[in-house]
Amino acid sequence: MEISGEKKMEMLRSMILSRRFSEKLTELCKIEGKIPGMVILSTGQEAVGSGVCAALAPRDVIITNHRSHNHLLAKGADPNLLMAEIYCKKTGYNKGKSGTLHIAVPEINAPCTTTVVGGGIPIAVGRAFAQQYRGEDAVTVCFFGDGAADEGSFHESLNLAALWQLPVVFVCENNVYAGAQRFEEHTRSKSIADRGAGYGMPGFVVDGNNAASVFNAAREARQLALSGGGPTLIEYRTYRCRGHGEQDPQHYQPKDEIAAWMEKCPIPRLSGDMIAEGILTQDQLGRLEDEIRDSVEAAVGFAESSPYPEPEDALEDVFA
C-alpha cells in the first residue's frame, strides 16, 4: 500500500530522534555515576518502534518493555521529560521512581512499561479487552523481544487474545539476541511468527529494518483488529547493535555481524528512498539532523539542570 510523504517524514524524524537520543545516552553512560541503573537502547532497531507507531492513532495504546525509549519517543514522548526520567530527576515522567527501565507515559497512551520479560503481554490483553468492551475505535500494541516469547505469559496471552478476538497487535522485536543468547540458542522455532497459527491468529515475519514494511504490516494488523478480526502476531527481524545494556561488553557478539547489520541501518535506507523519490533533499535532511541534535542537547540540558527528588518523596505514589 502507498505510504504518504508525510508519514515517511514522520518515521524518518522519529528514527533520527531515537538514534541521536540513544547515541547521547551511550556517551553519557561512559561518565561514571551520570546515569543510574541499567541503560538499555534500541540503536539499529529504530524502524520497529517508529514504523509501528506511525501506523497508530494517538488514541491507540502501546505497552512496552525494558527497551522502550524508541517506542516512547515514536509514540510522542517529550524528549526532555524522558531524558529527565532516565537521569532519575524530579522533573522526569515518573518523578525518578522509574529511572530508565520502566518509564510509563499514560498521557500519550503508553501507560504500563515493564522490565519483567513477558510481563507486558498479558497486560496488553487486558488493555485491548477494555477497548473491545467499551466499543472504542482503538487498538493496543504490545512490544516485546524474541526472548519474551519463551515466557509462559506469551502462550496464555496469545491464546486468550485469539479466543476473544481482542483488538491487539503483538509486536515481537526479534533483534537476534535475548541477553547473551542467540535466537537459535533459545528456541527451535524457525520464527516466533510461526507460533501464531497455533493460537489461530495470523503471524508474519517482516523486515524490521525497513520502515516502510514495518509500517505497512502494522497498518494492516491494526485495520484487522479494528474491524473485529482479532489479534495479529508480527515478528520484525532486526538487530541489536549495542550490547544488551550499555555495560555489556558484547564479548559474545561477532564484530563482523554487528558491522554487517550496521550496513542495513534503517535510517539511510528510508532517507535514501525519500531522496530518490524526490520528496526529500540532502539539504532538508541536514537541517532535520541539526534540529534533532539541538533538541537532544536541550533534553540533556533540561535533565542536567533539573533537581533530584527529595528523599521523602519516596513515600508518595504507592496508593491511588
Binding site: G37, L101, T114, D150, A180, Q181, T187, D248
Partner: protein
C-alpha cells in the same frame, strides 16, 4: 587465606560440589554465557570447566527453570538453578511454593526434592523495584522450603555446599552488593550447617538481629554506638528457615533489648516473626520495647536519593538502638 567477593565464593562452592557429585548441575538464564564477562559473577567459567551437559543456559522461562529443578531433583539429581533477580521469583513461584515445598508432604514423606534455587537480591544499583525487591518473607511463609541468606563470602561458600547436599528445597539468596565486597575465604572445604546463626559481635546491652547485607549495617551501627558507650551484640541469622531460635533467645536474655534490621519492607517482614518468637519465649527478659529498622512500605525507587532513603542505614539503626538504650 584469599580475599574474595560473594560471587566468587559461590563459584568455588559450585565448582567443588560439581566436582564431587556428578548429579549436581546448574541451569538458568546466562549461567553459561553471560552478558557479564566478569570473574566476580557466581557462574563465571563453569561452562568452560564442566561443559554444556552440566551448565545449562535456558531460555527466559522461569517457570520451566524451577520446574526443571523440581522434576530432576525427584530423580535424585541435585539441581542448582538460578533466578536472575529476586522479583522474578514470582514467575517461578508456582513450581517452588506449590510444588517443591509441598510434593514431599503430599507423598506422605516418600519423595524428596533436593534442589537449590539461587537468587540475587538487594537494592543500590538504581535499577528500580522490578529488579530490587527482597522477598524472603514470602518464601519463609511456605513450609517445606529452607531459606538461606549469607552475609559473608566464606559463609556463602560453606552454606551453599550444605544447601546442595541437603535433601530439601533450599532458597539461597545472595545480595549483589556483596559480590563487590572482598573478605577472606578459607580454601578448605568447611560445611556450615543450615539453621545455625552466628554471633558476629558480642555485646551486653542490645541485641541486633540481621542477615545478609544488613549484618554489615548492624556492625557499622554497633561501632558507632560503642563510641556512645552502648555495647551491641550482632546476631547474624544466616538461615531464616529453619530459624535458630536458641541463638536469638540466648542473646536477648543476656541483653534484654532487641532490634531487628532487614532491607525488605516492613509490613509482613520477617522482623515481625522474630519479635513474636521473643514475645512468646523471652518476654520477661525484655527491658525495653522491641524495635525494627526496615525498608519502608514502598517499592524500591530508582532515583539515587530515593533509593538511599529506602535503605536502612547504620545511622537509622543506631537511632533505634539509642532510643531503647534510654529505656529499662
Amino acid at each position: 587465606m584469599q580475599e574474595a567477593g560473594m560471587g566468587q565464593a559461590v563459584n568455588e562452592a559450585l565448582r567443588e560440589e560439581m566436582t564431587r557429585d556428578p548429579n549436581v548441575f546448574i541451569a538458568g538464564e546466562g549461567v553459561g554465557v553471560s552478558i557479564h564477562d566478569s570473574p566476580l559473577m557466581p557462574t563465571h567459567g563453569l561452562l568452560e570447566e564442566f561443559g554444556e551437559k552440566r551448565v545449562r543456559d535456558t531460555p527466559v522461562s522461569e517457570a520451566a527453570i524451577a520446574g526443571l529443578a523440581v522434576g530432576a531433583s525427584e530423580a535424585g539429581m541435585r539441581p542448582v538453578v538460578e533466578i536472575m533477580f529476586n522479583p522474578f521469583f514470582t514467575l517461578a513461584s508456582d513450581m517452588i511454593v506449590n510444588h517443591a515445598a509441598k510434593l514431599r508432604y503430599l507423598s506422605g514423606g516418600k519423595s524428596a526434592f533436593p534442589l537449590v534455587v539461587r537468587m540475587k537480591s538487594g537494592s543500590g544499583f538504581g535499577a528500580g523495584c522490578q529488579h530490587s525487591h527482597n522477598l524472603e518473607a514470602w518464601v519463609c511463609h511456605s513450609p517445606g522450603l529452607k531459606v538461606v541468606m549469607p552475609s559473608t563470602p566464606a559463609e556463602a561458600k560453606g552454606l551453599l555446599r550444605s544447601a546442595i547436599r541437603d535433601d530439601n528445597p533450599v532458597i539461597f539468596i545472595e545480595d549483589m552488593n556483596l559480590y563487590f565486597a572482598f573478605m577472606p575465604v578459607p580454601e578448605d572445604d568447611t560445611l556450615i550447617p543450615i539453621g545455625k546463626a552466628d554471633v558476629k559481635r558480642e555485646g551486653k546491652d542490645v541485641t541486633v538481629v540481621a542477615w545478609s547485607r544488613m549484618v554489615h549495617t548492624a556492625l557499622a551501627a554497633a561501632e558507632q554506638m560503642a563510641g556512645e558507650g552502648a555495647d551491641v551484640e550482632v546476631v547474624d541469622l544466616r538461615t531464616l528457615v529453619p530459624l535458630d531460635e536458641e541463638a536469638i533467645l540466648t542473646s536477648v536474655k543476656k541483653t534484654g533489648r532487641l532490634v531487628v534490621c532487614h532491607e525488605a519492607t516492613r509490613t509482613g517482614g520477617f522482623a515481625g516473626e522474630i519479635s513474636a518468637v521473643v514475645m512468646e519465649k523471652a518476654f520477661s527478659s525484655l527491658k525495653a520495647p522491641f524495635r525494627r529498622v526496615t525498608g519502608p512500605d514502598i517499592p524500591v525507587p530508582a532515583s539515587p536519593p530515593l533509593e538511599a532513603f529506602y535503605l536502612p542505614s547504620p545511622e537509622k539503626l543506631a537511632g533505634a538502638i539509642r532510643e531503647i538504650m534510654n529505656q529499662g
